[in-house]
């Protein structure tokens, strides 16, 4: 008998199964660590200490978490409407241009809290602009959004390359980056947040955009589960034909969803560009857009889950960096392997364990 139709209680669906998938992902990552001749348990311990052991480590962890919350939300919003946005990477990259242009033009004149709202808008607008063409192609011309968003990642990458190398570069400098923003174009560090728990932030770049990310989580939750638009998006995601019969306009919802999704991805740029390096650098996104896919999958496309999953990946990124200092045989790219394993087991092989768990559940409950 097929087990697909048996429904399981929520604590298994949202607790046990994701956890087991995560364990599997870590098991296979551990095998890789073991294969190159290091002790996986020791590696895990070093990773956790590196990420959570000191105030500075926590600061870095939360800094990465911030970026992943934005990109995770971006992917999740699109998934609710049945759209797979692989372009968060490019949207965040272009969003950086929006944020940087605002910072560059305002930082001489006003303090950061005046710059910030404009920068948020700038980043979101540029991110949304990058999602607009793929969205329109999907809505009106029926082109597959996955393909077009991938293409746009590369188009944006070339464009930003041009903009940074030719237009925004500081004359006389070699590095393709803008000038450093003045105080008025930087987001303040959140040292008080770490100090609240008795730690010291040190050099960690945890900044105000962390709070913006948390606000966005709440707003996305409101949007998806408490508004008419969110209801229409979810309807479209679950059944496009039902949405069509209910009079929900496909093209309109696709456009709006993708603009929101692109805007959220664009806002991710606030964190590294205005919060950490205080300048726009080449390739600053560094794969955070793709991590967003993993975060959204792990977090079951729910803001609360996304925060937890983003934290997990934040720990991996910061802990992985520390780990590569302590165990030089393990490079930082081990994180990429773990990330791949997590996407594989928590995403693509999501239902692999389900039949076995259903049988076990039926035996235990005696149904």
């Amino acid at each position: 008998m097929s087990t697909a139709s048996v429904s399981l209680p929520a604590w298994i669906n949202y607790g046990v199964i994701p956890l087991l998938n995560l364990v599997l992902a870590f098991f296979f990552s551990g095998l890789v660590v073991w294969a190159i001749g290091e002790n996986p348990f020791e590696a895990l311990q070093l990773l956790l200490i590196g990420a959570l052991g000191r105030g500075e480590g926590i600061g870095f962890t939360l800094f990465y978490t911030t970026s992943f919350i934005f990109t995770g939300l971006s992917v999740a919003v699109a998934i609710h409407a049945g759209l797979f946005n692989i372009g968060s990477e490019g949207q965040a990259y272009l969003g950086g241009l929006g944020a940087a242009l605002v910072a560059l033009s305002l930082d001489h004149y006003v303090p950061w809290y005046v710059t910030m709202p404009f920068a948020v808008i700038g980043a979101a607008l540029f991110g949304a602009a990058c999602a607009a063409i793929p969205a329109w192609l999907q809505a009106k011309r029926g082109s597959h959004i996955v393909i077009t968003t991938i293409m746009f990642n590369f188009i944006v990458s070339s464009l930003m390359n041009y903009v940074l190398v030719r237009l925004l570069i500081v004359p006389g400098k070699m590095a393709p980056e803008t000038r450093t923003f003045l105080e008025g174009g930087q987001l303040p560090k959140l040292d008080w947040l770490i100090a609240l728990f008795g730690g010291r932030l040190g050099a960690a770049p945890l900044n105000f955009s962390f709070l913006i990310a948390l606000v966005m989580c709440f707003l996305v939750w409101v949007l998806i589960w408490r508004t008419k638009l969110g209801y229409e998006m979810r309807t479209l995601g679950i059944s496009p034909s039902a949405a069509s019969y209910a009079g929900i306009r496909y093209a309109k919802i696709v456009m709006i969803t993708m603009l929101i999704s692109g805007g959220l991805a664009g806002m991710m740029a606030l964190n590294p560009v205005m919060g950490a390096s205080a300048r726009l650098q080449i390739e600053f996104v560094g794969g955070a857009g793709f991590v967003g896919i993993a975060v959204s999958l792990m977090g079951r496309n729910h803001p609360a889950g996304i925060i937890l999953a983003a934290l997990l990946f934040g720990i991996l990124y910061q802990g992985g960096a520390e780990l590569s200092f302590d165990m030089p045989r393990i490079t930082r790219d081990m994180i990429v392997v773990i990330q791949g394993m997590v996407i594989l087991f928590a995403g693509a092989l999501e239902y692999m364990l389900r039949p076995a768990i259903v049988r076990l559940y039926q035996q235990v409950t005696g149904k």
């Binding site: 996955v146 393909i147 991938i150 293409m151 041009y162 790219d333 994180i335 791949g340 995403g347 693509a348």
Partner: protein, 323 residues
């Protein structure tokens, strides 16, 4: 240098740059025509490049390297199959995951084994595929027009280049003239019908993915031990995605795939050539335009402005035998 010489040199480099695209796009052709989207082409290329470089380095045998490259790409393909056919998982998610695994694993293992910042050791000359001078190339060289074309573009390539072009008619023949090909195309359009005819959808799709891995293995091997002499960090550098673009640009057909790959290879070669040079009338053209052009062209095509690119109907949808 006169214009003809420049043209010949760009053409030669265009061919060299389009070979990995051609293998990869043909690889994607088999999987996508069978109804399995494959975003993971990039990862397969990267993983097989790494494997072939490692084996060629240790054995000093290029063919052993090729074998390892093919085997690795098939393993990746099978994981993709296990996720998307057996477990009916999301094919795009699985592809993204495998790209990550390949990108990370090649660097982690490379660093652990060779300790050169993600590079593998330098592969000895006998472990590489080197250029083959076709008979008469030197004799023909002085013949105007055809001579340089034959000597510098047709001749002097390595064996994998010729295999790549051979794979185009072979793929066409397999897809359009064999029973396997007919069923493969059918399973990408209407798996239900294939199932009704008593043919296993899963097994058919798995076989298609084996072919995909086989061809992607050639692509990676070409990168690592034909075009260069070692594996370098992230050496596929997005070529898997360009190949995917070429596949779509060619509307999922083998012969157009070849032309699309040649076009994208030519753009790449032209961009390299144009670096720092200026055109008459227009002035200096930013290289980035050429880099972005394959993607822009594909988007324009997808928008339906140059004919319609219609993907296989059942692509991306897992097949459920019973409900």
């Amino acid at each position: 240098m006169d214009y003809f010489d420049i043209f010949i040199s760009i053409l030669g480099s265009a061919i060299r740059l389009s070979i990995p695209l051609l293998f990869t796009a043909l690889a994607g052709l088999f999987s996508e025509r069978a109804g399995i989207f494959d975003i993971g082409l990039e990862g397969k290329m990267l993983a097989s490049a790494f494997a072939s470089a490692c084996v060629a380095y240790y054995t000093g045998n290029a063919w052993a390297g090729l074998g390892a490259g093919i085997l690795t790409a098939i393993v990746f393909s099978m994981v993709h199959g296990f996720a998307s056919i057996t477990n009916r998982g999301n094919q795009i998610v699985s592809g993204v995951a495998l790209n990550f695994v390949a990108a990370g694993l090649t660097i982690v293992l490379g660093q652990a084994w060779f300790n050169q910042g993600g590079r593998t050791g330098q592969v000895p000359p006998e472990g590489r595929f080197s250029g083959i001078v076709l008979p008469g190339a030197d004799m023909m060289r002085d013949v105007p027009i055809i001579g340089p074309l034959y000597a510098n573009v047709v001749s002097g390539n390595n064996i994998l280049t010729y295999i790549a072009f051979l794979m185009v008619p072979v793929s066409w023949w397999v897809l359009y003239r064999t029973r396997f090909g007919l069923r493969l195309r059918a399973v990408g359009e209407n798996p239900g019908a294939v199932d009704t005819a008593g043919i296993s959808v899963s097994w058919l799709r798995y076989r298609a993915l084996i072919v995909t891995g086989f061809l992607a293995g050639f692509a990676g091997t070409y990168l690592a031990i034909a075009q260069s002499a070692a594996f370098i960090n992230n050496m596929s550098a997005g070529k898997g995605y360009i190949a995917l673009a070429a596949l779509i640009f060619a509307k999922w057909k083998p012969v157009p795939v070849m032309f699309a790959c040649l076009l994208f290879g030519f753009l790449d070669a032209f961009a390299n050539f144009m670096q720092g040079k200026s055109l008459p009338l227009i002035g200096e053209v930013p290289v980035q335009i050429f880099q972005a052009l394959p993607y822009i062209l594909t988007c324009v095509l997808l928008a339906g402005f140059i004919g319609i690119a219609r993907p296989p109907k059942a692509g991306g949808v897992p097949y459920a035998k019973e409900r």
